[in-house]
């Protein structure tokens, strides 16, 4: 009820804005991150090309999903981007429709892993990120996810909260390191609980880690590759771990809403977004790592991204369905063991 009310009021506000706009338009729902770059690289050139207007709605995934659900029968949004598991949740709510990949000229250029991550073309991957451990190479050595709990890191390590996108993948890798790779994550959560007094904090925002590292409050933390750029600029020796269990990460996908009013333009925008030109520009601006296999970037840029087929293939990703099916259980176990 409340969700509907909130979503409707937002939809009304957005609707009012749209009524005054050009006749041809496409409405998209995206993450709030790097919108200036997206406008310059993607939206404005696309608007010139199609002679239409791109109406952008931003917000965190929970808000955006709630809005999409509230307007399910009369969708305002034509196309949205979200994490693979949120896209699967959207599909289970009946918000999305399968994407006709024949209408995307750039589809075959994508890495195989991005082509159909949810099955039935319910979503198409457009970017990835790796998750591994950032650490102070002058103070500690990290060769395994289990090294997070070495003696030298007692009271000097941060771990992502289970509620973040980095949390479950990091727990999964910790599980692998201690010999249990079950998606239920019970063993790694118990392992974290055992060491919780040695962990400075369970962070919820990656920017928090940068501050704690800068202050030398912590010496290591699991982190998404998208924030690595900040560490290369700090005056301290940081390294990106390549643990023997491998790296983990996540994938973001594009979805098409069921009953989208501007389906043709939505397809055109998706195709443009996946093109080698746009994916290269987004990579060079360090906004998104490319899912298009034809993208070539300099070594320096590549070092700051999750780049190349080998890297992408080697990521130990938790399947979206397993994330959705286990999420409540993880939170409950985490709150019971770690949260108190």
């Amino acid at each position: 009820m409340l969700k509907t009310l909130l979503a409707t009021s937002v939809a009304v506000i957005v609707g009012v804005g749209v009524a005054n706009a050009a006749d041809k338009k496409v409405v998209i729902s995206v993450y709030g991150f790097a919108q200036d770059e997206f406008k310059e690289i993607l939206y404005t050139p696309f608007e010139k090309m199609c002679g239409c207007e791109v109406v952008v709605e931003t917000g965190n995934s929970v808000e955006r999903l709630a809005k999409l659900e509230a307007r399910k029968d009369d969708p305002e949004i034509d196309m949205a981007v979200m994490s693979a598991h949120d896209a699967l949740a959207a599909s289970r709510m009946g918000i999305t429709q399968p994407i006709d990949v024949n209408r995307l000229t750039n589809f075959n250029k994508l890495y195989d892993i991005a082509k159909d991550p949810l099955g039935d073309y319910r979503g198409i991957g457009y970017t990835f990120y790796a998750t591994s451990i950032v650490y102070r190479s002058d103070k500690v050595k990290i060769e395994s996810w289990a090294d997070l709990f070495q003696d030298d890191l007692k009271g000097r390590v941060a771990f992502p909260n289970v509620t973040t996108n980095q949390g479950p993948p990091a727990l999964y890798m910790l599980g692998k390191a201690i010999g249990n790779d079950d998606y239920g994550l019970e063993a790694p959560i118990e392992e974290v609980a055992k060491h919780k007094d040695d962990i400075v904090t369970f962070y919820v925002r990656s920017s928090q880690v940068a501050q704690l590292m800068q202050q030398e409050e912590i010496l290591a933390a699991p982190l998404g590759r998208f924030s690595w750029g900040a560490y290369t600029k700090m005056d301290l020796p940081f390294a990106w771990a390549t643990p023997k269990e491998g790296q983990t990460g996540g994938m973001n996908v594009m979805i098409l809403t069921k009953g989208a009013k501007n389906e043709d333009l939505a397809y055109q925008l998706m195709d443009y977004w996946l093109s080698t030109e746009i994916q290269t520009k987004l990579a060079e601006a360090l906004v998104d790592s490319p899912a298009n296999s034809e993208v070539k970037v300099s070594d320096e840029i590549a070092a700051n991204l999750t780049y190349g087929e080998e890297t992408v293939k080697s990521l130990n990703l938790i399947p979206p369905a397993d994330i959705l099916d286990n999420r409540e259980g993880w939170l409950e176990k985490w709150n019971a063991d770690v949260g108190q």
Binding site: N161, V204, Q211, Q215, E217, N335, G339
Partner: protein, 275 residues
């Protein structure tokens, strides 16, 4: 004042409509969410909320920290306020300005400053090591201590200001009279100052306690998920689990706690008056 009631009501109507539409109605909807069950109206969401050990821990921690912050604010607040009221007018104005100053800085900035101050390489730890009280830096961040310090700094000015205005309204010679009649300082405070300034204490106490319960940034930044409080738990329920029912229960509990604290403080004040 008005010719008839109708005229007065008509004047109040816009404000009443506005408040009902943008405040009472949404709050009503929000709170009703917690009583909505699968089959109809029920209290089961509240009982099951307290069945969870984590929720109980968070509830009692919020209550405990709120009470602690309010008590410390009251003790330090009385001393500070008394000292300020005793100053000559110009100096008093300046000191009040200094007390109010932190309120003009964003709580986000103030809270982040504590991360630097309380950190391993922060001024507090460096001082402790230099004095020789400890060999290794003490870990303050992400603990109840850090949250308490942050909340104290955030809300103590409200207590001091309330007490200053209460002390200013107290007859100036009441304290001297009590002293002349042989009361010691404790008796002066307990039997003269406290009864005469209880209104200020009730207002300050309510502001500090309610503020501590409902603060979000300070417990989120200085406590993190290791020191969950009701407000940070509420945020977690909404953003992670999309669980608006639990969120509305927490909102209701926070409101009840604030109202109860206010009533309790008022009761304490009037109880002393009756004696």
């Amino acid at each position: 004042m008005f010719q008839n009631r109708a005229e007065a009501l008509a004047l109040a109507l816009p404000a009443v409509l506005f408040a009902s539409l943008v405040f009472l109605l949404p709050v009503g909807i929000l709170l009703s969410e917690g009583f909505r069950g699968e089959t109809g109206w029920t209290l089961s969401a509240y009982t099951s909320f307290f069945d969870s050990a984590l929720n109980r821990t968070v509830f009692f921690r919020t209550l405990r920290l709120g009470a602690l912050v309010t008590s410390i604010s009251a003790v330090i607040g009385y001393a500070t306020a008394y000292a300020i009221v005793s100053l000559p007018p110009t100096a008093r104005g300046r000191m009040i300005g200094l007390v109010v100053l932190p309120l003009m800085i964003s709580p986000v900035a103030r809270t982040y400053a504590w991360i630097v101050i309380l950190g391993r390489t922060g001024i507090v730890n460096e001082a402790l090591v230099w004095i020789g009280l400890t060999d290794e830096p003490v870990r303050f961040l992400f603990s109840e201590t850090a949250v308490t310090i942050g909340l104290l700094q955030l809300f103590m000015p409200l207590m001091i200001i309330s007490l200053i205005s209460a002390l200013e309204n107290m007859p100036r010679d009441a304290v001297s009279a009590a002293r002349v009649l042989g009361a010691n300082w404790f008796q002066v405070f307990w039997k003269v100052i406290l009864p005469l300034t209880r209104e200020g204490l009730v207002i300050g106490g309510t502001l500090v306690f309610t503020g501590s319960l409902t603060a979000y940034i300070t417990p989120a930044v200085l406590g993190g998920s290791k020191v969950l409080m009701l407000e940070t738990l509420l945020y977690q329920r909404v953003t992670v689990a999309s669980d608006f029912a639990s969120a509305s229960i927490i909102a209701m509990i926070l409101m009840i706690m604030s109202f109860s604290a206010n009533m309790l403080l008022k009761r304490l004040a009037t109880a002393r008056r009756r004696r």
